[in-house]
Amino acid sequence: MLLKVVLGVLLLLLALFLFFSNTFFLSRLSFTSSLNGLPGSLSGTNDPENRIAELEKENKNLKFQLLNEKLKKPGSVKVYSTYPFNNRGEIAIAAGANLGIKVGDVITYGDNILVGRVTKVFESYSTLITIFDPSWKMSVRVGEHEIDALMQGGNELTITLIPQEAEIRDGDLVITASREFPYGLGVGVLKNIKSAPGNAFKEAVLEPSFQLKQLKDVSIYR
């Protein structure tokens, strides 16, 4: 029994290694590409059948290009997927080093609403941590009087360290005030302000300007 488990684990590791080893992957791509080029180089390109195939390929490519342009909103990047497990506000987006994305780049929803910050960049995609991640903390300002406070991520976003004497109301806008982000990006609006007597600070719930579930396109703040 134990032997079978060990064998299973070893097979699993081997499969993962083979599949994800970049060298293996690149060699496979290069091999497939050489194989694909072989028939053309043997038969010559002036053959009418080859030319028809070429034109059909070009036609299909153009159709996809048109569809992509129709779906793409200007200046926006598609959201690929969300972190597969519980309790992490991470997403992957369809822009990477190929589009000049760098670690730390700020990602927005529309032009003025903060989504998160890029944490890892790969050739054609990047992963980013969003304001919903439980580890997210940043300084913000609340309302027209620009009251300083601290925002914390999580399934329910919270605003803490609001001075007790501060005049704030439900519906006040919350904007970024951390030096890691451009000043004034929108984060959400205040609701359920709690003010316990004897406490030096007030707390409130932050209603975000977007829901992770509905996020399909984001923008890179430049």
Partner: protein
């Protein structure tokens, strides 16, 4: 072979769903649909080679970043431990299954433990496990009855 093929397809579909935001509750609460599915399917796929193939398929589809990452090891480890527990615990099968799901869920969250979301997730996973087990019993009653504790 039919059981394995069906399990493989189901695993692939569920793993894909796990990477989407369709099952997001709130903004970060996600039930471990794939863990529950793997543990339940292990009850009708007794061979460790088949179980390993199911876990590998799920791990490949769940990849969030290229290369081997900590998440892959955590997921594979949690799935293996949960499947082992589901088969080894000396209680009635539904109880073993629920304990296995509980342990697996905690293991998957080990690198970012947060109490409240974990409790939500545990409740959801246990409910899903209960539903899946009973569905499986309906379509595969003989296999499930044949499984006995290995103690």
């Amino acid at each position: 072979m039919l059981v394995f093929t069906a399990s493989l397809i189901l695993t692939a579909v569920v793993a894909f769903i796990q990477t989407t935001n369709w099952i997001l509750l709130g903004n970060i609460i996600k039930p471990d649909l794939i863990l529950v599915t793997l543990v339940t399917l292990a009850l009708i796929n007794h061979s460790w080679i088949r179980r390993t193939a199911l876990i590998t398929t799920a791990a490949l589809i769940l990849k969030f970043t290229p290369g081997l990452a900590l998440l892959d090891f955590i997921f594979v480890g949690a799935a293996l431990v949960a499947i082992l527990l589901a088969g080894f615990l000396p209680w009635r099968q539904p109880v073993s299954l629920l304990v296995a799901i509980l342990v697996g869920t905690v293991m998957i969250n080990v690198d970012h433990l947060s109490l409240l979301p974990l409790i939500y997730e545990l409740i959801l996973n246990l409910l899903l496990g209960f539903i899946l087990f009973n569905l499986l019993k309906l379509v595969h009653v003989s296999e499930i009855k044949l499984q006995k504790s290995r103690f």
